[in-house]
């Protein structure tokens, strides 16, 4: 099958000089064997890739019409919305694409956690994925500043100010980030430049991500290694068509928001031009940052976790502890392959970890809910409990459960499990 199109003379000519076609065939064609039991949760990797392309293409077009200057940025975005041909469509795609990207990547990440895709021998694949998430967060944060609305400005002010918590060099770092002594035109300029750069860094990381993926290939819902050809099917046409179908479904949902609820994920305040003299009553980041925002704000001086990590307030300020905790909440994922001692990958065979996975998932959602609420009253204590649980899950529950838990018997092979299930 693989060699059918190699009979075409043009393909043959190119192939002899540069083996593009066999490369493609081995990467996502009929010569790339894939576990035959992947379910629809495995669609979100290709979906994230699709949105990355959509974001880059729409972003390049937007950049042609955008002016990165504090006096014109807000107005130039409105020019795009009103006067550029289909500018509103391109901008709404880019705006909602950010949310769509994070939805896909978060599902992709939780899928990896549920089915143990981070475990040996896919640790590097997972680690590169964590770096992709970090790069995405930096890109999204800087992109949100560009329309120069109230939330752009004040979000940038709050987040860049976090770096001032770093001892000794903090203030210098903030000045460097700002290019001055407050968030102003130089800040907007460098954020625009970096926002244009970062997606290509992400593309590079994605190449490494896929490279690592192709070494040991996809994990699968059973979490067991493929035993032989009977466990596998070629990527093309089986998974190409399944991915395409998934893209169709996803585009339906994505385009629904673009056309019928384009500002659903946005903040009304960002349709007010940035004003350094007027602080919005509640500064909230985009929804995909809310859980981290909740963790950041959980660290008050009376929070017992702060008292512990700072040795009773001696080592660091609560602000610094909050900043470190916020970064740690993601960086700890880098250690996940080693924190989890269980050899069994899939939670289908891990009766105890199964429940802790879902509790952790709900905890993340709850942190997101808290992040969107003002830091007052019972929200503070609830955020602190959820934050404590978040770190307890990664540092304590995962290792302890993985050692104590007795997994269910795992099937012999993918094909034997499929036959047993009566297919």
């Amino acid at each position: 099958m693989a060699f059918k199109f190699f009979e075409n003379p043009v393909v043959k000519w190119v192939e002899y000089r540069m083996p593009v076609f066999s490369f493609l065939d081995h990467s996502l064609g009929s010569s790339y064997p894939t576990p035959k039991n992947l379910n629809y949760w495995w669609n979100f990797g290709s979906l994230a890739g699709m949105i990355l392309v959509i974001m880059i293409v729409s972003g390049i077009v937007l950049a042609m019409n955008y002016t990165p200057h504090v006096d014109y940025a807000f107005e130039s975005v409105e020019r795009i919305m009103r006067d550029v041909n289909y500018g509103w469509l391109i901008r709404y795609i880019h705006m909602n694409g950010g949310s769509a990207f994070f939805i896909c990547v978060y599902i992709h990440l939780f899928r990896g956690m549920y089915f143990g895709s981070y475990k040996e021998p896919r640790e590097l694949l997972w680690i590169i994925g964590v770096f992709i998430l970090l790069a995405m967060m930096a890109t999204a944060f800087m992109g949100y500043v560009l329309p120069w609305g109230q939330m752009s400005f004040w979000g940038a002010t709050v987040i860049t100010n976090l770096f001032s918590a770093i001892p000794f060099v903090g203030d210098s770092i903030v000045t460097l980030l700002w290019g001055g002594f407050s968030v102003d035109n130089p800040t907007l300029n460098r954020f625009f430049s970096l926002h244009y750069l970062m997606p290509f860094v992400i593309v590079g990381l994605v190449v490494f991500h896929i490279w690592a993926l192709h070494m040991h290939r996809s994990n699968n819902p059973l979490g067991i290694d493929v035993k032989g050809p009977e466990d596998m099917i070629p990527f093309h046409p089986y998974y190409t068509v399944k991915d395409l179908f998934g893209m169709g479904v996803f585009m339906l949902i994505f385009m629904f928001f673009v056309f019928y609820a384009p500002n659903f994920f946005g903040e009304p305040d960002n349709y007010i031009k940035a004003n350094p003299l007027v602080t919005p009553p509640h500064i909230v980041p985009e929804w995909y940052f809310l859980p981290y925002y909740a963790i950041l704000r959980a660290f008050t001086t009376d929070f017992f976790l702060y008292q512990i990590v700072s040795l009773g307030g001696f080592l660091m300020s609560a602000k610094l502890a909050g900043v470190l905790a916020m970064f740690a909440s993601i960086l700890l994922f880098l250690l996940l392959p080693w924190l989890d001692r269980s050899k069994v990958r899939s939670n289908r065979f891990r009766p105890i970890n199964f429940w802790f996975f879902w509790i952790f998932f709900l905890d993340c959602l709850f942190l997101g809910y808290i992040g969107g609420k003002p830091a007052e009253g019972s929200f503070i204590i609830m955020g602190q409990i959820a934050t404590t649980y978040y770190f307890a899950h990664i540092i304590l529950i995962i290792p302890i459960v993985s050692i104590l838990e007795r997994p269910k018997p795992i099937p012999e092979s993918i094909s034997s499990a499929v036959t047993a299930a009566g297919h």
Binding site: E75, E78, Y92, Y238, K242, F256, Y271, V284, L365, G368
Partner: protein
Amino acid sequence: MKKVILSAFAAATIALGNVAVTGPAEAASGVKPPAQEWSWTGPFGTFDRASLRRGLQVYSEVCSGCHSLNLVAYRALGEVGFSEDEIKAFAAEFEVTDGPDEEGEMFEREARPADMFVSPFANDNAARASNNGALPPDLSLMTKARFNGPDYVHALLTGYEEEAPEGVMLMDGMSYNHYFAGNQIAMAPPIDDDSVEYADGTEASKDQIARDVVTFMAWAAEPELEERKRLGLKTMIFLLVLTGLLYALKRKIWSDQH
């Protein structure tokens, strides 16, 4: 198993959506404005043209004394049924500074359709000076820049109280409004029954005036809305057919695997 995951995901999506949409709203504004029916909501909604015309009249006769509409050009009125001559005549009532001319002098000329709506004040300081220190905000994006924008603006315009309730001290020149955050607003009650005399003979009740000017402001904020919904319908139908075909293809290709 599958059901558990799916329902958890559905719950998650809804929870996240709620956070994004209502989270900060509850804290930021005071009373939730009552929901109104608007002609442009829903998947097939369009701006009521007659209401929009009346709304422009309200903006011109009432709001534009203090509020600018900086992001909207006169020519944009052509998209909602104003003829070229109407737009030219409407724009010509305003003066803009242009130049420099060949002698290097700035000069005044009549506004043209390509100009943006002329602001009532030369700059923010002039606006503050004439308004007791308060800055009347630009209205171009007002209905997008507030939670439940159209309902909020309607409620604000009709939500004044002649006297502040007992125990509430108003500062000099301020008015009491149920829906404004903090209830103290620098804008005096802008409209009342018969504040305008409609050219089309519609009875100008306070509610009607508010509805019309909100319709106009909603159009000013989202002039692409009608085209967006039209194109959206085509896109959704196309995607539905495409996805259906892809599903059939997927079933066919996978038929030898089940």
